[in-house]
Amino acid sequence: MESNDQDPTTEQVGAGAGTPSSSPEPSADPPADPGAGRSDTTGGAADGPRRLYRSRRERMIGGVCGGLADYFGIDPVIVRIIAVALVFAGGAGILAYLAAWLLVPEESADGASEPGAAGRTATIAGAVLLVLAVCTLVPFWGGPFDGWAWSGPFMFLVFLGLAGLGVWWLASGEHPSAAGTRDVLRRAGLGLAILAVCGLLAIGGAWATAAGGGVLVAAVVIVAGLWLVAGAFIGGARWLILPALALALPAGVVSAANVDIDGGVGDRHHHPVTAADVQSAYRLGIGHLMLDLRDAKLPPGDRRIHVEVGAGAVSLAVARDVCVTSAAHVGAGQVNVFDRGSGGLDVDWRDDRRALPGTTRLIVDGDIGVGVLDVSYDDPEQFDRGDRFNAPREAGNDACIGGARG
């Protein structure tokens, strides 16, 4: 963010060549024929910042893809292919295209650039993010965008785009640059240093939140926010934006996943061999909780256990004559109960089963912050071996009504 604060008049990036302002290299002169090359239409005058415009020459609908292709100096077909692919990623491409159509000005008739559009990229990125935020909130009350969800390839693309945007911003300011290597390296070094500090803040904040210090972290975040608000009037606080976000967002993720590391860190292996040895609750902060109940000889009737892991995995093995009914919340990850399962963010799993007469019903109540809850007949030690989740899984719950024995 800080690198984005400079005076736009100092961000002189040559068209096509893209020379940052602090670089002494002069830019190339614009071609005589505006339509002869790409750089002239995006960068316009060589002595001004490169601009993003909707292309007049490379236009299929609104000229957005053509303008982007001109801006990045690539074939418009590539941009169009990406745009079409994004249409199938939850409709993000359509919204992004419409936002760009509304916000990006059209290229002037002579192909020359217009002045006074510094910060347009940030404006567009901000507007697109706000549109995405609104569209992902819509499913809460049901609407035409009901299919939007915080999972799958759509979110991958969103986060990938955000990461790329951030690195680009930190490394090169506003515009990608092909020249001025020293300046780019300086910016990249500064960006990496900021990222390192922010990374430490993020890890520290997340760890403190998971360890029970969430209230303190929240208080620090609020104070940082108030400092920023005060700094807006007295000046000199912009540098705090990135550290404040680095502290707040990971702490928020830990909080949303409900990660709690009070149960300790590491792998735990429980293998009770009598019903009396089976505890009512098993907890682990971070790591792999292996619970092998295959030899527990549980008596007929209901037996309830609670398993809780902040970040990691729970692998629970049961005997074939036990019916398992399960309910779990997973902040981020997946649940696999024999051949059934669910995964993603905010997973609320429920699989109610009734046991055959005279058999044991194990009622599993799981709470996983980030990770996996796995129930099977297999040795929990084998959990980490091989690609278990993508392998065909054995249908289980034979001892339930509707199972193999029922």
């Binding site: 963010m1 984005n4 604060d5 736009p8 006074g116 510094a118 910060g119 347009r120 990229t121 940030a122 404006t123 567009i124 990125a125 901000g126 697109v128 993010l129 706000l130 995405l132 935020a133 609104v134 992902t136 909130l137 809460f140 915080w150 979110m155 969103v158 939140t209 969430g214 209230v215 929240a218 208080a219 620090v220 975040v221 609020i222 940082a224 926010g225 108030l226 400092w227 920023l228 608000v229 005060a230 700094g231 807006a232 009037f233 606080a237 912009r238 934006i241 404040a244 976000l245 707040a248 967002l249 702490a251 928020g252 993720v253 909080s255 949303a256 902040g331 981020a332 963010l345 905010d346």
Partner: protein, 60 residues
Amino acid sequence: MARRRPDLPSLVAGAAVVLLGVVLLLDRLDVLDVRFAALGPLACAALGAILLASGLARRD
């Protein structure tokens, strides 16, 4: 005396960070139960507002 204009990105970022902090505090105090379905759009909106403010400020 000319009155100093507030710095828009700092103002918006400050408000967004305060909002995130308050939500985090309420979740930790068990007043709210924040999940990814709410945190995701909230974080996205906060970042979007900051970027938008930054872009608009630089266009002035």
